[in-house]
């Protein structure tokens, strides 16, 4: 007997899912609802040997995006399996109050993820213009046809330190520019290597303000390359945590 794959949790009065919504697996498993009292889980049959394949990750994301467009959905992390539909219903019943509260808190809210890295040439110009010592050393090395190994190391170390300092400053500056237009901020998963990787919880109706702030950031921090993804299901805000104050807890 195959198990049940869970995409997310919605209110039982969530609008019906569109016909033919394609879930994970190949061929795509049919997406359906498991209802329990005031709640419904968005589920499908789980394929045997489910792995985090590109196609399946995309299907998970698409199901949640589509369902989330119709009403609040608590997105599950990829890969949640229950033994069967009854087990899903039991979990919904057991923690109904908590999930209902979360659904209320996230009603009308979407997540925007913003990642930033430096444009190398632009940040070097910036460092150069801000730091006379770097300018002097660069000029000296140029005059010397590039400079000795030691001189290059000295310049490089100084520049790297300055760029790293800018990374830290720019991460703060970016957050400060965007935060006022969002309801909550969550720092992205650790160690993904961006100078800033932030998720913002944004009221769908106020999304244009947030996106205007992003444009301001692009203009004011022109040496940053920003990647903005959204609107997304509020993955980073489903659970209120100590570092992620969400809504009304």
């Amino acid at each position: 007997m195959s198990s049940t794959y869970v995409y997310g949790i919605a209110s039982a009065d969530h609008p019906a899912l569109p016909d033919g919504m394609e879930g994970i697996g190949e061929p795509s498993r049919k997406v359906r609802l498991v209802e329990a009292g005031p709640l419904a889980a968005i589920v499908s049959e789980a394929p045997e040997d489910l792995r985090p394949k590109r196609r399946d990750l995309l299907a998970h994301q698409n199901v949640l995006s589509e369902a989330g467009g119709a009403g609040p959905v608590l997105p599950m992390r990829f890969g949640s399996l229950a033994p069967d539909d009854e087990a899903v219903a039991a979990v919904l019943a057991e923690r109904a109050d908590h999930y209902l509260e979360r659904l209320r808190a996230l009603d009308g809210k979407v997540e925007y993820n913003v990642k930033a890295q430096h444009d190398e040439e632009a940040v070097l110009h910036r460092v150069m213009s801000e730091n006379a010592e770097v300018r002097t050393l660069t000029e000296a090395n140029r005059q010397a046809g590039g400079g000795s190994h030691q001189e290059k190391l000295r310049l490089g170390e100084m520049v790297v330190a300055a760029v790293q300092a800018r990374e830290a400053q720019d991460a703060i500056a970016l957050r400060q520019l965007l935060e006022p237009t969002a309801e909550a901020v969550s720092t992205g998963p650790d160690s993904t290597g961006w100078l800033a990787n932030l998720s913002f919880l944004v009221d769908r109706k106020a999304a244009e303000h947030f996106l205007a702030a992003v444009e301001t950031a692009r203009r004011d921090l022109a040496h940053l390359e920003l990647k903005v993804n959204g609107p997304l299901p509020p993955y980073s805000f489903v659970e209120p945590g100590p570092s992620e104050p969400v809504g009304t807890q």
């Binding site: 997105p75 090395n141 790297v160 290597g193 769908r204 390359e225």
Partner: protein
């Protein structure tokens, strides 16, 4: 979804943004301990995708070289947001890129990114049955093209 301005990639089901939201799908979202989670072996490699500057001798030398060839006349007027910058960097810098390649790949990853690791993860995913002719990675230095 309702608001998807041109600059925002994905969210509505496109694949372009998938690589950037992957970590959210895999690392965030509700976890219910009564449910089992599938193994994520093979995708952990995402964790070492580094785009910030890492201090090392190789990086020092590369940045010293980058400063040396920086066109100071262009100065701060050159905006990072201008699309022509991409062409400028990949074109006029091609000789230097070749030099970089001769060096340690990791130094190149300092700013231009180690997107190969993502490619690795997805390459693996593809081997598991995903025939996907489209290149699954965009090197961060090319990411502007993606936005256009």
């Amino acid at each position: 979804m309702t608001v998807v301005p041109a600059q925002q990639s994905g969210g509505g089901g496109g694949t372009s943004g998938l690589y950037d939201v992957l970590e959210l799908v895999l690392d965030r979202g509700l976890v219910i301990d009564a449910f089992v989670r599938v193994s994520l072996v093979g995708i952990e490699i995402l964790k070492i995708d580094i785009r910030v500057v890492v201090a090392s001798v190789d990086t020092y030398l590369r940045f010293a070289e980058a400063c040396n060839r920086l066109d100071l006349e262009a100065g701060p007027h050159r905006s990072a947001g201008l699309p022509d910058l991409v062409g400028g960097m990949s074109g006029s810098g091609s000789g230097d890129k070749a030099g970089d390649k001769a060096g340690d790949k990791k130094t190149k990853g300092a700013l231009s990114g180690a997107a190969e690791t993502i490619s690795g993860a997805f390459g693996q995913a593809r081997e598991e049955g995903q025939a996907e002719p489209k290149r699954t990675r965009r090197a961060p230095s090319r990411r502007k093209e993606e936005q256009e």
